[in-house]
C-alpha cells in the first residue's frame, strides 16, 4: 500500500506517525530515563526529562541485592526450561498431526487450542493442591511444568503450521530412500523445520518470561521469577523510583530485544494462523 505522497502531506503524516509512536513508547522511555537518575532527581518537582547527574548506581545496587539476581536467573530458567520441555513433547505431536493426519486430527487440534481458552482460575485450586502435595510449590521445576503445560497448545499449533509447509513429497522421498521414522525426523524434517522451530522457541520464551499468573500463584520466595518479584514488590521496600526503574528495565530488556526480532512469529503464533 505504499504510494508516493506529495512532499507536504508526507511531512504531516511523518510527523503524525512519529508523534503517535513516541507517545506510545513514552512510558518505556520515561522508565529508562528514570533508571539513570538519582532518587532525588527521579522525584524532582517539576519532573525533568534529563538530569545532569547520570548514574549507573541504580543498576549496580539492584543487582547487588541478594535476591534480584536469583529472580532474574529464575526467569531465565523457567522461560528456557519450559520452552525446551514443551518442544520435546510438542515436536513429535506436531509431526504426527501434520504428516499422518487421521479423520479426527483437526478436532484434536481444536481441542488442544480450546484448553488454552479455559480460565486459569477454574483449575487454579486443584492444581495448587496437587502441586502442594507433590512438593512443587515455590520450585523452579514446578513452574517449568506449569508454564510448559500452559503454552503447550500454542507450541504444538505453531509447529504444526510450520511442518505443514514442508512438502510431503520430500518426506516420502526420504522414506523411499530407506529412512526410518527417526532418521526422517533427524536428517530431513528437523533441518528443514529449524527456522520454524526457532521461531516457536522465541515466541514461547517471550510468553513464559512475561507470564504473570502462575508465576505469582505458585511461588513465594525461592522460585519467584521477575514477574512475581515486580508484582509483589511494586510498592516496594527499599526500591524507590529510580531503583524500581532499573529493576524493571533489567526485567524487560531481554524480551524487548527478542521481541523486535519476533514480530512475525507473534502474529502467526497468537492469531493461530488466521492472519498472514
Amino acid at each position: 500500500m505504499a504510494r508516493a505522497l506529495a512532499p507536504r502531506r508526507k511531512l504531516i503524516i511523518t510527523l503524525a506517525a512519529w508523534s503517535v509512536a513516541l507517545v506510545i513508547f513514552f512510558p518505556v522511555l520515561w522508565m529508562l530515563l528514570t533508571s539513570f537518575k538519582t532518587e532525588a532527581s527521579a522525584v524532582a518537582s517539576p519532573p525533568q526529562l534529563f538530569t545532569a547527574d547520570w548514574t549507573f548506581e541504580n543498576y549496580t545496587e539492584v543487582w547487588a541485592r541478594s535476591d534480584y539476581p536469583r529472580f532474574f536467573w529464575n526467569s531465565v530458567v523457567i522461560a528456557v526450561g519450559s520452552t525446551l520441555l514443551g518442544l520435546a513433547i510438542a515436536i513429535p505431536a506436531a509431526w504426527a498431526m501434520a504428516f499422518v493426519p487421521g479423520p479426527r486430527t483437526k478436532d484434536l487440534l481444536m481441542w488442544m487450542l480450546s484448553t488454552k481458552m479455559m480460565p486459569a482460575v477454574a483449575v487454579m485450586i486443584p492444581l495448587y493442591l496437587l502441586f502442594q502435595q507433590m512438593g512443587l510449590i515455590d520450585t523452579r521445576t514446578g513452574l517449568v511444568i506449569a508454564l510448559m503445560l500452559m503454552n503447550l497448545p500454542i507450541i504444538i499449533w505453531m509447529l504444526y503450521t510450520y511442518f505443514k509447509e514442508i512438502p510431503a513429497e520430500i518426506l516420502e522421498a526420504a522414506r523411499m530412500d530407506g529412512a526410518g521414522m527417526w532418521s526422517e525426523i533427524a536428517y530431513v524434517l528437523t533441518p528443514m523445520a529449524l527456522p520454524g522451530i526457532a521461531s516457536t522457541m522465541l515466541l514461547n520464551i517471550i510468553l513464559a518470561w512475561n507470564e504473570a499468573f502462575w508465576t505469582i500463584v505458585l511461588t513465594t520466595t525461592n522460585a519467584a521469577p521477575l514477574s512475581a518479584f515486580i508484582a509483589s514488590f511494586s510498592a516496594p521496600q527499599g526500591l524507590f523510583y529510580a531503583k524500581l526503574s532499573a529493576a524493571s528495565a533489567m526485567a524487560i530488556m531481554p524480551i524487548l530485544i527478542l521481541g523486535w526480532f519476533s514480530q512475525k512469529q507473534l502474529v502467526r503464533g497468537l492469531t493461530f494462523g488466521a492472519v498472514k
Binding site: S45, V121, I216, S234, A274
Partner: protein, 290 residues
C-alpha cells in the same frame, strides 16, 4: 504417507501431549466441580461434605459478584474498543510511506513485550502516583489538584493500562493485514472516483474485517484472564471497585482461603467464558472462513 505402520507411531507421538493436557485441564476441572459442591475452608480443619449449591448461591447473592461480572465485561469491552479503534488508525498511519517505518514499528510494538507487572508498575508509580507521578506534576503545573487515579477511578485506570499493553498487538495484526492489501485494489477504487473516506469504507475496512475479528477473538480470550496488572496495582480495590471475576475467585482462594467458594466461582468463570465464546463465534465467527 498414512500407512498403517505410520499410524500407530503417530498415535504414540501424540499421546503424551493429549495425556498431559487432559491432566492439566480436564482432571482439575472435574476436581473443581467436585469441590464447588462441598464445604472446604483451609482454616476449618473439619471439612464436612456436601453442601449442594450453597457456594454458588453465595456468589449469586453477593453484590460483589455482580460488580465483578460488570467489571470483567467492562474491562474486556473497554480494552477491545480502545485497541481496535486506535489500532486501525495507527496501523493506517504507519502503513504510509513514512521515513523510518522499521523504527516506528519497534516503538509502537514495545509495550506488548513489557511484562504486565512492570507495565502496571510504570503507570502506577511513574505516572499515576499522586505525589511523584507525571500526571500529578502536569496537574500541579496547570494549577489543579492531582487526580487520584487508582483510588478514584480504579477500573478506568486498569482499562487504560491494559489498553496500553494490548494496543501494539491489535496494531501489529491490523498492520500485517493492511500490508496484504494490494495497492491495485485501491488504485482501481481511485480510478472509479472514490475519495479517501470512501476508499476506507469500501475497500480497506472490508479487507480488515477478518483481522479485526481475529483481534477481538484472541484478545477476548486473554483479557478475560487479566490478573497481573490488577495484582500489582489495586489488588482489586478500593473495596471491590476494580475486582474482576478471576480476581474475586483468586481472593476467595488465597485470601479468604475458602476453597469451596473459589471452586464454585471457577465453574461460574468457565460458564461465563463459554457464553462469551458462544456469542463471539455467532456474532463474528462467520467472518472467519477457515
Amino acid at each position: 504417507m498414512a500407512t498403517q505402520s505410520n499410524r500407530l507411531a503417530a498415535r504414540v507421538m501424540v499421546a503424551p501431549s493429549v495425556i498431559l493436557l487432559l491432566i492439566w485441564m480436564v482432571v482439575p476441572l472435574a476436581m473443581t466441580l467436585y469441590y464447588s459442591f462441598r464445604f472446604y475452608r483451609l482454616i476449618s480443619p473439619e471439612r464436612t461434605g456436601w453442601v449442594g449449591f450453597t457456594n454458588y448461591l453465595w456468589f449469586l447473592n453477593s453484590p460483589d459478584f455482580w460488580l465483578s461480572l460488570f467489571n470483567t465485561l467492562a474491562l474486556v469491552g473497554g480494552v477491545l474498543l480502545i485497541t481496535v479503534v486506535l489500532g486501525v488508525l495507527i496501523a493506517l498511519l504507519i502503513d504510509q510511506p513514512v521515513r523510518g517505518q522499521g523504527v516506528l514499528r519497534i516503538l509502537v510494538i514495545a509495550p506488548f513485550f513489557v511484562m504486565p507487572p512492570v507495565a502496571a508498575s510504570i503507570w502506577e508509580n511513574l505516572f499515576m502516583h499522586p505525589q511523584n507521578g507525571l500526571f500529578a506534576a502536569a496537574a500541579r503545573g496547570l494549577g489543579a489538584e492531582p487526580i487520584l487515579f487508582l483510588e478514584q477511578y480504579p477500573l478506568l485506570s486498569i482499562i487504560g493500562i491494559v489498553s496500553w499493553i494490548w494496543l501494539p498487538f491489535a496494531t501489529l495484526i491490523l498492520l500485517t493485514a493492511l500490508q496484504s492489501l494490494s495497492s491495485e485494489q485501491l488504485e482501481a477504487a481511485e480510478m472509479d472516483g472514490a475519495g479517501p473516506f470512501a476508499r476506507f469504507r469500501h475497500v480497506i475496512l472490508p479487507h480488515l474485517t477478518r483481522a479485526i475479528t481475529v483481534v477481538i477473538l484472541i484478545q477476548t480470550i486473554f483479557l478475560l484472564a487479566i490478573f497481573g496488572e490488577i495484582f500489582t496495582t489495586t489488588q482489586g480495590g478500593p473495596g471491590s471497585a476494580s475486582t474482576t471475576l478471576p480476581y474475586m475467585i483468586f481472593k476467595q482462594a488465597i485470601v479468604a482461603k475458602d476453597i469451596g467458594r473459589a471452586a464454585a466461582g471457577g465453574i461460574i468463570a468457565v460458564i461465563l467464558a463459554n457464553i462469551v465464546a458462544y456469542f463471539l463465534m455467532r456474532g463474528i465467527g462467520r467472518h472467519l472462513d477457515k
